[in-house]
């Protein structure tokens, strides 16, 4: 290959010609076509975050309807058919359309900034994943609004969701939603895992990588191994429903319990896809607000990794009431208890960090502290559920509803709200109001406990899950009334939060680069960050690059092209510079491909022919996506250097 022609390269600081050229090269495309063509990880991340929050509000609204129905015995606010759709849509939305996309969206936005690179590894793939997610969610809700909402529960057990008892197209919408959301999850996971392993800033060895990046890596790898299972299972159910196969038909050699194995093999790690990022938020926030590095950083990282592994060994604890062999059940009790250990390690390390630090009392910390009350209580009720005999009493009762909300809201939602307050200034350049934040926190905390604590008792008193009403003689009326009151209190806190976001966007104080005095790389760039993230890719020599660096160590990278979109690929363990990488330019093909894939999936709800012929548009779209362009190839050739 010929020697590279003279190209303007980066390396000079802000205000230089190189910096201006870089800004020009990476500028955000304009107009509608530009908006659809934008593959900046920050734009994709924001889309995920906003859309996931919208689904959160929708699911919360459905929950408000459910709690209204249950506020008094024998209520007629909604009938059984609508109620069954409500709880199914609530669970499905929260788990598939809010929690995982939200966590992935936060990672998409922040991981490249934290590891010191300009975009993710496969930005077109994540951009496409967003549109697939959006259409998938809208498809599910379109079904719901046409009285064809999924109604077999968020885990859609067969035979209730199968061909014989899952009448109409309701379960078809659910199965296809699984395809949409898991395809999205897998695409983003592969992108995140690759950027973390291969595109970190020079000097950011694995041992120096922020805990948030570790958590994202662990979650992404877990996703790669868990999500295919539920996709496979949901498609097997669709085959039973649409083509008359017999996977779940015991009369023809199939098995009903197989679905539970397939679903929960995914389903248990799934809750950790949501919980581990929550842990990561806490591990990002506590060091900043304790003004010291994380106590036991390595132990925390190892705990995250072992949580990831252990979470694959728990799934049968969702099936203790079935007739799987009793001998095996005790093994799953042991594993379910064991997974408490790495979480305990993290909790103790956080307490030690706070105890030996100096506390900055600000809203992000407050939300994180809620974890210690709520998640710990939920984790302890989880230990109770992990024990087979106790589980046999409280499984499928309101005790489980209490447990799952304590762990999900305490372990993920409260830390997420803390993360919103923490990173809102970086994303928008403005601060949220701190007084409103404190009010929101206390109302949410109190409302949450008033809603969900009584449910532990209701479960012990025999109230099963998923019942649209109950008789007055059950004695369940009082606690249900209390829970509903709590739910409305929580609802107010969410609305208050939304108001705070809008007020912040409208007239929040300008935030500056680093309002919290934090130590990780995302706080070294302007708020909001420019499209290219860093004028110069940093070189790091410590875990908290903004707090310390080695004397005499290099501080930044130079030599990447400023005239084309170039980034750096580094080695996996020590992040030594290895290869220069030409990022793709903005392109609308990921959007078209997503539409084509969505058309295929939506068509397959209604027709088995659609499953086959619907593959043609995606095939065309993917060819259009990948076929190299003359101009981009010429640019690459100008900079090419063979290995």
């Amino acid at each position: 290959m010929s020697a590279p022609r003279e190209t303007l390269r980066d390396g000079d600081g802000p205000g230089s010609r190189a910096a201006e050229t870089l800004a020009m090269t990476w500028r955000t495309p304009k107009g509608i076509v530009g908006w659809l063509s934008n593959i900046d990880h920050k734009s994709t991340g924001k889309r995920f975050i906003v859309t996931a929050f919208a689904f959160f509000l929708a699911a919360a609204f459905l929950a408000a309807l459910m709690r209204t129905q249950l506020v008094v015995p024998d209520n007629h606010f909604v009938g059984p058919d609508l109620y069954n759709q409500l709880f199914t849509m609530h669970g499905t939305t929260m788990m598939f359309l809010f929690a995982v996309p939200m966590m992935q969206g936060m990672s998409l936005y922040f991981v490249p900034l934290m590891v010191g690179t300009r975009n993710t590894a496969f930005p077109r793939m994540s951009a496409s994943a967003y549109w697939i997610y959006l259409v998938g969610g809208l498809t599910l809700y379109a079904g719901f609004l046409c009285n064809t909402g999924a109604d077999a529960g968020w885990f859609a057990y067969v035979p209730l969701a199968g061909p014989q008892y899952g009448i109409g197209k309701r379960s078809d919408f659910w199965n296809v939603l699984v395809n949409f959301s898991e395809a999205m999850g897998l695409m983003v996971a592969v992108d995140l895992a690759t950027v973390i392993l291969k595109m970190r800033a020079p000097g950011m060895s694995l041992r120096r990588m922020p805990i948030f990046a570790w958590a994202t890596l662990v979650t992404s790898i877990m996703i790669i191994f868990a999500m295919p299972t539920v996709m496979l299972g949901a498609n097997l159910v669709q085959l039973d429903r649409m083509l008359g196969t017999h996977f779940f038909n015991p009369g023809a050699g199939g098995d009903v319990i197989l679905w539970q194995h397939l679903f929960w093999f995914f389903g248990h790690p799934e809750v950790y896809f949501i919980f581990i990022p929550g842990l990561a938020f806490i591990s990002s926030i506590i060091p900043t607000f304790a003004r010291r590095p994380m106590f036991g950083h390595d132990a925390v990282v190892l705990s995250l990794i072992s949580t990831g592994f252990l979470s694959f060994g728990l799934w049968v604890h969702h099936m203790f009431a079935t007739n799987v062999p009793d001998v095996g059940k005790s093994f799953f009790t042991a594993m379910s208890l064991m997974i408490a250990i790495p979480t305990a390690v993290q909790i103790f390390c956080w307490i030690a960090t706070l105890a030996t630090g100096r506390i900055q009392w600000r809203p992000p910390l407050l939300y994180v502290l809620a974890f210690f009350f709520i998640l710990v209580l939920g984790g302890l009720s989880g230990l109770l559920l992990g024990s087979v005999p106790i589980d046999l009493q409280v499984h499928d009762s309101y005790f489980v509803v209490a447990h799952l909300h304590y762990v999900l809201i305490g372990g993920a939602v409260f830390p997420l709200f803390g993360a919103f307050y923490y990173w809102f200034p970086k994303i928008t350049g403005r601060m949220m109001d701190e007084r409103i934040a404190k009010w929101t926190f206390w109302i949410m905390f109190i409302g949450f406990n008033v809603t969900f604590f009584p449910m532990h008792i209701l479960g012990l008193h025999g109230m099963p899950r998923r019942i649209y009403t109950y008789a007055a003689q059950s004695g369940w009326g009082t606690l249900n009334l209390v829970a509903t009151v709590g739910a409305f209190i929580m609802g107010w806190s969410v609305l208050l939060f939304v108001a705070n976001v809008l007020a912040g966007l409208w007239r929040g104080k300008p935030a500056g680069e680093n309002p919290w005095g934090a130590g990780t790389l995302e706080w070294s760039v302007p708020s909001p960050p420019p499209p290219y993230n860093f004028v110069r890719i940093p070189v790091v020599s410590s875990r908290e690059p903004l707090w310390s660096r080695e004397e005499g160590a290099p501080t930044h990278v130079s030599g990447l092209s400023a005239q084309t979109r170039e980034g750096l690929v580094t080695t996996v363990i020590d992040a030594l510079p290895d290869v220069r990488y030409g990022y793709p330019r903005p392109t609308i093909w990921p959007f078209f491909a997503a539409l084509a894939v969505s058309l295929w999936l939506d068509w397959s709800i209604f027709s088995t022919q659609g499953f086959v012929w619907g593959l043609i548009p995606p095939a065309i779209a993917f060819i259009g996506w990948f076929w190299p362009r003359e101009k981009a190839t010429a640019e690459a050739l100008a900079l090419e250097k063979a290995p």
Binding site: T194, I224, P228, T245, T555, L576, D578, V579, P643
Partner: protein
């Protein structure tokens, strides 16, 4: 150009210039795990591997539960077309390896040759695969056994067909252009994925065609 150098990461070090690490001299692409595409493909293989693995587990799970499952020499598909597939798919490794090695040496004529060979063999494999479906000796809606065997074969077929399409597209690209060094990495990665198709066929073939014999 030695392969060792191409596969060795950080073989060209960055140059220290004052406070900066200068990377202008670094290569603009690398093969194997030095390329991002390798990692993406590895992720894809893991995902599909999990799906295949579970399908095989499901086969044996049902077999343990279902007294009517073909076993011990009774029932099962005809061996001919599946075995022909196994032989042909192993043969396909030849043009595949030619293409892969040529790509790492950036030898365009040889790459074209390997890809054309691979395209022809893989199209033949699609025909053989079609025949296999007709000789499974069970309908997919007859029993859980039928459903499982059709789905196991179907999953591999889906992967086979998508990689055949990918190979055909790359073959056309290698003739039409526009070409740059990174396209050779794409060829090498496609070859790696084809190896995956070959390697996953062997256990699936064993399960579909030979498990009923035991």
């Amino acid at each position: 150009m030695s392969r060792r150098r191409e596969a060795t990461p950080a073989s060209v070090p960055a140059v220290r210039r004052g406070d900066a690490l200068d990377v202008a001299n670094l290569p603009s692409y690398g093969f194997s795990h030095r390329s991002l595409m390798w990692w993406g493909t590895a992720g894809m293989m893991a995902i599909e591997g999990v799906a295949f693995g579970f399908m095989v587990v499901i086969y044996f799970y049902f077999r343990a539960l279902d007294p009517g499952w073909p076993r011990g020499g009774t029932g099962g598909p005809d061996l001919f077309w599946g075995s022909l597939n196994a032989v042909l798919i192993v043969v396909s490794a030849i043009p595949n390896t030619v293409a892969e090695k040529a790509a790492m040496n950036r030898d365009l004529p040889k790459v074209r040759m390997g890809l054309v060979g691979l395209s022809l063999v893989s199209l033949g494999l699609c025909v053989v695969r079609w025949m296999e479906f007709t000789r499974l000796n069970v309908g997919f809606d007859e029993s859980a056994y039928g459903s499982t065997v059709w789905t196991l074969l179907g999953l591999h077929t889906f992967n086979l067909v998508t990689d055949v399409a990918d190979t055909l597209v790359l073959t056309v690209l290698m003739y039409k252009g526009p070409l740059e060094g990174k396209r050779f990495v794409d060829i090498a990665e496609n070859s790696g994925y084809w190896d995956f198709i070959v390697l996953t066929w062997l256990p699936i073939y064993a399960v579909i065609y030979w498990a009923p014999k035991f």
